[in-house]
Amino acid sequence: MHVTYNDKADARSGPRLFNRIAVLRAERGLSRNTLADALDINYQTVGYIERGDFKPSLELAFRISEYFGLPIEAIFSRHPFRPLSEEVYGKRSPGSSR
């Protein structure tokens, strides 16, 4: 959790935390409001977390993971996620077919 209102401090706030919340939400047809109500947070906070503008606490990260029923590392990562299609079907060159 980090808000500084100071550009230099923001630069020092460490690496970005990537997440798949937007994908999971879209996949399950959940609105930001629904997810926010379930997690007991402001719907805008959901947007901030999705965009990577706000790093949730460990406690909130666990609540999100429990809500989606997925391990925490399936939702949050310190490195960019590969697209789900690539993970499921493997990497293919553009235009290639089975």
């Binding site: 959790m1 808000v3 209102y5 007991d40 402001n42 906070t45 999705e50 965009r51 949730p56």
Partner: protein, 165 residues
């Protein structure tokens, strides 16, 4: 959410208007008890008009809910502000960052006033009093409202697509 450029303009205009009112009161009222009343009027205006109606409404539309406080206490009484369980963790982080930044600004301003105050020793007593009031009254204006102004000035714009709930 109002765009940050507009929020900053609103903050600047509000402070210019409010400081103009304060300067006018200082210049028009004779020194003494009337000016103490003027300072009180400014504090009531700062809290109830600037903080609650102008900044507070906008802040509550952006990131923080409006605290439920009594008008007469200027929000300075203990236990009237948000309890931690009224806010989520991002709102708490935003509030704390804004209060910390406001504290820094007020501390720097107070130190600057302290260092330049010897310049008034050469002036006559009444002129020195006026100068001192001009320098310190902005503290009245900003002390009650600065955290909200900082939130309005610094909170980033939310992308259009993120406005959909």
């Amino acid at each position: 959410m109002v765009h940050r450029g507009n929020r900053r303009a609103l903050v600047a205009l509000t402070y210019i208007a409010f400081l103009s009112i304060m300067v006018t009161l200082i210049l028009l009222l004779p020194p003494g008890r009337h000016q103490i009343n003027a300072v009180w009027i400014c504090m009531v205006l700062a809290y109830n008009v600037v903080s609650r109606l102008v900044f507070g409404k906008l802040v509550s539309d952006t990131v923080l809910p409006q605290p439920r406080v009594k008008l007469s206490t200027l929000g300075l009484a203990a236990g009237q502000h948000h309890r931690e369980d009224d806010l989520d963790e991002r709102e708490i982080a935003v509030r704390d960052a804004a209060y910390f930044r406001a504290y820094q600004v007020l501390a720097v301003y107070s130190i600057v006033v302290w260092f330049i105050s010897p310049l008034t020793f050469e002036l006559t007593a009444s002129t020195a009093l006026r100068v001192f009031q001009f320098l310190t009254l902005p503290l009245v204006a900003i002390a009650l409202t600065l955290p909200q102004a900082i939130v309005l000035c610094c909170e980033p714009d939310v992308p259009e697509e993120a406005m959909v709930r």
